[in-house]
Amino acid sequence: MAEFLQFAFSGLTVGAIYALIALGFTLIYNASDVINFAQGEFVMVSGMTAVFAAAAGIPLPLAALLAIVVTVLFGILLHRLAIEPARGASPVTLIIITIGASILMRGLAAVFFDKNFHSLPPLAGDTPLNLGGAAILPQSIIVLIGTGIIVTALWLFLNRTLMGKAMLATAANRLAARLVGIDTSAVIGISFVVSALIGAIGGLLATPITLTNYAIGTLLALKGFAAAMLGGMGSPIGAVAGGLLLGLLEAFGAGYLSSQYKDAIAFIVILAVLFAMPQGLFGRASIERV
């Protein structure tokens, strides 16, 4: 039982980070049909900025704030300088642009920071708590609470603010949204800002546990993408569920079956789910118009 709890907690912690990345994917996809492969880079930029700001003597809360500002700035620049000028191009072209942006951001991080692994001091110390025989890091609980707060805030933003409702309307039907006067181009811009913000907070939450370096973004993007598809592309609830499920699959797969093949186990389950439910767990069935 203690073992089970241990795996469950580590799975949920990692899964929460995947969920945040998957949420970022979902928001941008809903606004623009684009899969933003630089999503993992937001997490990296935020973690690295905070680490180096803290090392330069800036107090941790300010360093964290700076990291968020820098990451959101990257999100705005990505949209303004790379996505907006290519308006009207096909999604495949835009995806290649985001891959280019991810290579660019990785290169910038390697030059301006370094290529070593770094960590941030955990918020609540590193004495593990004992929960039913399982040792749980306080930071794990902070990651879970933080993710919960972000998901709630995002839900409130989407359902209770005009801007959020405009995003939902754009996701539902872009043409109809434009016809009722929603500036869908601005919605895409906002989706990049919110995705970068979520990625930045994810980076701050995760770095004390998972460490960070200039190259972690690719793997995170891959996992976040898989999580978003597992949950059903375009569904925020699906993104969260997919992320947590992917984290749990990896943790239990590594714990009970094989740590070498934990990613394989996760992907076999994803494939099995997609064969049974081709739209993911929470996805809408798409209707092709001819």
């Binding site: 290649i96 898989a226 394989a264 064969f275």
Partner: protein
């Protein structure tokens, strides 16, 4: 995503390519350049296969490095464990890739768009993981030495030999691809690309054609993979990794989906550019990312189709 239609003489591309392969050694100053050219040809072969799948039939694959890796390891493991000659292992790798694509393709190709992308991504990762983790057989992350290709007692090594092997193979590969896309099968692919439902209504056996193009593209990738490891003399799991799958997709899109010439251009740019950018030392990746973004902003349909369109507009 419009499909670039070969204007009037589709075979001109093949003839132009053959001429290029014949004449290039006359202007290349040293063996180093022949080596780069051979790498371009090998990558282009894999990208042409991927382009058949993505550009013509409209099916995304983020796992093609898996098939590339099967080819790369086939020529290593076949001679080492089964005592097969290298050329037989090369064919064996292609057949194995085709079989795997045939078996996995049936369920996977029912998925659409990004769902297919994540499924192929998973497939590529699984293949790559087997090569990485089964260290007793494959040497794990350290990789393995690859034996020389021997045909009728003749040993193939060196940049010049591989220039010709890969160059001739690329011309043949491009010729087969052009043949295919100008045939009724090619028209079926394009119909599926435009709308699967409409294609089905027209009486096209959509699953069969999707499977056919998936298997073909897997064979292209496997043969290219075999060449790659034979040429290099060493193979590591990086050959089969996610990054390489992404590279193939970038080559195909950058050069222009639906254009054979585009695939070759895309491969040339992504092979040559990092060599040129080494002068920028640590700024190499920054430059590579910037160039990709700028190309896609100004030539959104891919380099070859976008330039061809501009040229036509000017002359018209």
């Amino acid at each position: 995503m419009t499909v670039h239609r070969f204007t009037s003489k589709p075979y001109m591309v093949v003839i132009a390519l053959a001429t290029l392969v014949l004449l290039l050694p006359l202007v290349l100053p040293s063996a180093f350049y022949l080596r780069i050219a051979a790498l371009v040809f090998i990558n282009a072969l894999a990208v042409i296969g991927l382009n058949l799948l993505m550009g013509f039939a409209g099916q995304v694959s983020l796992g093609h490095a898996g098939f590339f890796g099967i080819g790369a390891y086939a020529v290593t493991l076949g001679p080492a464990y089964l005592g097969l000659p290298v050329w037989a292992s090369l064919i064996g790798g292609a057949v194995f890739s085709a079989l795997l694509a045939f078996i996995v393709g049936q369920p996977i190709l029912k998925l659409r768009g990004y769902y297919l992308a994540v499924a192929t991504l998973g497939l590529g990762l699984l293949i790559s993981m087997v090569f990485t983790n089964e260290a007793d057989i494959t040497g794990g992350p350290n990789g393995m030495e690859v034996p020389r290709l021997v045909v009728f007692g003749w040993r193939a090594y060196g940049s010049q030999t591989w220039y010709w092997i890969s160059g001739v193979s690329l011309v043949i590969g491009a010729w087969i691809a052009v043949n295919l896309i100008t045939s009724p099968t090619g028209r079926a692919f394009r119909a599926i690309h435009d709308s699967e439902t409409a294609a089905r209504v027209l009486g096209i056996d959509v699953p069969r054609y999707k499977l056919l193009v998936f298997v073909m593209s897997a064979v292209y990738a496997a043969i290219a993979g075999s060449y790659f490891s034979l040429f290099d003399g060493f193979v590591t799991p990086d050959t089969t990794g996610f990054i390489r799958s992404i590279e193939f997709v970038v080559m195909a899109v950058l050069g222009g989906l639906g254009s054979i010439l585009g695939s070759i251009t895309g491969a040339a740019i992504l092979v040559i550019l990092p060599q040129v950018l080494t002068v920028f030392h640590e700024y190499e990746h920054i430059m590579l990312g910037l160039i990709m973004i700028v190309f896609m902003i100004f030539l959104p349909g891919g380099i070859v189709p976008s330039l061809a369109q501009r040229f036509r507009r000017r002359t018209a």
